[in-house]
Amino acid sequence: MSTIPLDHELDETPWVLPDRGISAMILLIIAESAIFIIFVVGYIFYLGKSLSGPKPADVLELPIFSSICLLSSSLTAHFAVSTLRKAKTAACAAWLALTVALGTIFITSTGIEWHHLIYEKGLTIQTNLFGTTFYSLVGLHASHVIVGLCLLLVALIAALRGKLNEHHAERLEVLSLYWHFVDGVWVIVFAVVYVLGR
């Protein structure tokens, strides 16, 4: 019934392996990237192949302000983690609140853009191939933003209730990795949809 004892006379160097949460998030990002790559490829493949209008150049406007908001929210998320690591919980809560606010601005302006496209320009997912690929790619990204916002909101509520301390820095870093990924994807979506595709 007993176990064969297995201890070797090893040198006493401490045995340190990478953090589980961060490793898992990096792997999840790899898996998610594969999904995004397929949607981006689909978008590029169908560029200019729509049988009817409207075309991207007719209806799309560069979402400069909201893009700046989203990209700077990456920075604020980073500050939230680094302040939490130094046990400055109040500062962390402030940075988290700013991140949520910037993300909300982004998702709201996406909503306004879609409303404009659907009700004024008459572009829906059924209209043509541009509508099909545009709404699915941008929508896939927007759904990731919404998930990230929900998670950030949970962290913010925890911080406001004083439940967040420096021991949670690693966990918040996992979340911030995800948020950086969502922002990184936006750079590609922006380049493909609004620059290359127009």
Binding site: T3, L6, H8, L27, A31, A34, I35, I38, L51, S136
Partner: protein, 558 residues
């Protein structure tokens, strides 16, 4: 050491349990060993279902102008057979073994995320149930039920609403989407376990080859399941909200689906075969009484197979007509795969060379695997040449080729793994005499079926036909193929009987029945819930060899 024994000697509380308490215990379990066994039992269940489907298909094709089943049923049969075997037998059984073995072999107490592990199992399980619910729900409760009938790769535009009315294709899409999420979660879990949970002293270069290959497989699953998920989402958007991804009427491309599917589909083949390699990597050295030959080369070959396999998908599409540039590229990239797989075959042969080979059931299956995998690889090289593929694409030659890999290599290794690790999981040996019967019946059945299946393919018999006319020269071959299928069915029955019989009557195995070298054999059989009372630490790739031979440890040579 005293602590170790004290902990292990503490008797597990064993009161009388109600049947429902046992069920509760399993359903709520987050123990990687229980989840692993649940994965395996669940996929054995589907193996029997999909196996019976294969038997009906063979029965239908045994003689010309046969009418055992209707053409509609036949289409559903081959669709469900393929989908089930790939997604609900192959993947879960391999992840089941991975779940059970990887933490034990790297000296960890559980997976990195036990609850996520249970979650992904139940996702996969409900995915399988959802697929089979299509028999009831495919056309709603009023009409006769219908299962998906679009083939396992569901080429567009066959799957569009116009050509696939009702809900059968939706069940196919949703169940694959669901299991895909489970698979990605398990892959992440397995990889993180190997990255962050290895016991003291186990560097990546000391990790046994089974965990290594699971690492590579999981990575492949990460990058391959994404495209499948994306394609399924697109298909669902097409079917539900009327988008035009694969709608050729609106300028959509049917070929895009084929690309997306095979970007998943080809790595998938390697996701399935890598764990089979992993089993062979553990079994062949132990039964040759030698350390594996060329450990670094084996790891390098596995990693390079993974990389190359991400760039060969279009060899499934030669008959579509890709143009000379793409044909040349994909022919060459496909042929290059023969190099790392060749390295593996030679390393296994070199491990056997000069060894004291013990011909027990696990080893027999692995030896048959070596030969059959080689033949499967050779027909693979034949098919990788685009002109040859134009002639034989979508014929029974292709079916014979990939079943040679799936059955001859993967299933044989899985059977070997059952005989090898059953004593560890259950505590009793499987019956050796029944094992030999199983092996020989399986070998005879396999070769009758799949050797002779190549011939009607060369004679021009296309895949997925419902029936055929007499006088084309296919009759005798199909008859032989059908007879072989019966042999395989009997062999599988012997195997299942052996599993059940040995559970009660098998010889008590003890801790280390095969005199093996990896960490799982240091635990009692079956291992306690916590695996290791004290976290082990290792100094070489074969920790138990070091322990049994302190005068000549492996660590001197690595």
């Amino acid at each position: 050491m005293a602590v170790t024994e004290a902990v292990d000697l503490t008797a597990q509380p064993k009161g009388k349990h109600l049947w429902l308490e046992h069920v509760y215990d399993w359903v709520t379990s987050v123990d990687h060993k229980k989840i692993g066994i649940m994965y395996i039992v669940y996929s054995l269940f589907f193996l029997v279902i999909a196996g019976v489907m294969a038997l009906v298909i063979r029965l239908q094709l045994m003689v010309p102008n046969n009418h055992v089943v209707s053409p509609q049923t036949f289409n559903r049969l081959f669709t469900m057979h393929g989908t089930t075997m790939v997604f609900f037998v192959g993947m879960p059984i391999l992840f089941g073994f991975g779940n059970y073995l990887v933490p034990l072999m790297i000296g960890a107490r559980d997976m990195a995320f036990p609850r996520l592990n249970a979650f992904s199992f139940w996702l996969s399980a409900f995915g399988g149930i959802l697929l089979y619910f299509s028999y009831l729900g495919g056309e709603g409760l009023f009409g006769a039920g219908s299962a998906p009938d679009v083939g396992w790769f569901a080429y567009a535009p066959l799957t569009e609403k116009v050509f696939s009315p009702g809900h059968s294709t939706d069940y196919w899409t949703l169940s694959l989407l669901l299991t895909g999420i489970g698979t990605v979660a398990t892959s992440i879990n397995l990889m993180v376990t190997m990255i962050s949970m290895r016991c003291k002293g186990m560097t990546m270069t000391r990790m046994p080859l089974l965990p290594w290959l699971y690492f590579v497989t999981s990575f492949l699953a990460l990058i391959a399941i994404g495209p499948l998920t994306a394609a399924q989402v697109m298909l669902m958007l097409d079917r539900y909200v009327g988008s035009h991804f694969f709608d050729t009427q609106a300028g959509g491309s049917a070929i895009l689906w084929v690309h997306f599917f095979w970007i998943f589909g080809h790595p998938e083949v390697y996701i399935l075969v890598m764990p089979a390699f992993a089993f062979a990597n553990e079994i062949i050295p132990v039964f040759s009484r030698k350390a594996i030959f060329g450990y670094p080369a084996m790891v390098a070959a596995s990693v390079s197979i993974a990389f190359i396999s991400a760039g060969v998908w279009a060899h499934h599409m030669f008959t579509i007509g890709l143009g000379p540039g793409a044909n040349t590229f994909f022919t060459l990239s496909t042929m290059i795969i023969a190099v790392p797989t060749g390295i593996k075959i030679f390393n296994w042969l070199a491990t056997l060379w000069g060894g004291k080979i013990r011909f027990k059931s696990p080893m027999l299956f692995c030896l048959a695997f070596l030969f059959q995998f080689l033949v499967a690889g050779l027909t693979g090289i034949m098919l990788s040449a685009a002109p040859f593929d134009w002639q034989l694409g979508n014929s029974y030659f292709v079916i014979a080729h990939f079943h040679y890999v799936l059955v001859g290599a993967i299933l044989f290794c899985i059977f070997g793994a059952f005989y090898y690790w059953y004593p560890k999981a259950i505590g009793r040996m499987m019956n050796e005499r029944l094992g030999k019967w199983h092996f020989w019946l399986m070998v005879i059945g396999f070769h009758l079926t799949f050797d002779f299946m190549h011939v009607p393919g060369i004679l021009g018999m296309p895949r997925r036909i419902y029936t055929y006319e007499a006088g084309r020269g296919w009759e005798y071959w199909n008859m032989i193929v059908g007879i072989g299928a019966v042999f395989q069915a009997v062999a599988t029955l012997v195997f299942v009987y052996n599993l059940v019989w040995s559970y009660k009557h098998g010889e008590i195995a003890g801790r280390d029945p095969w005199d093996a070298w990896t960490l799982e054999w240091t635990t009692s059989s079956p291992p306690p819930d916590y695996n290791f009372a004290l976290a082990p630490s290792v100094g070489s790739r074969r920790p138990l060899w070091d322990l049994k031979h302190p005068e000549d440890p492996d660590s001197n040579y690595e």
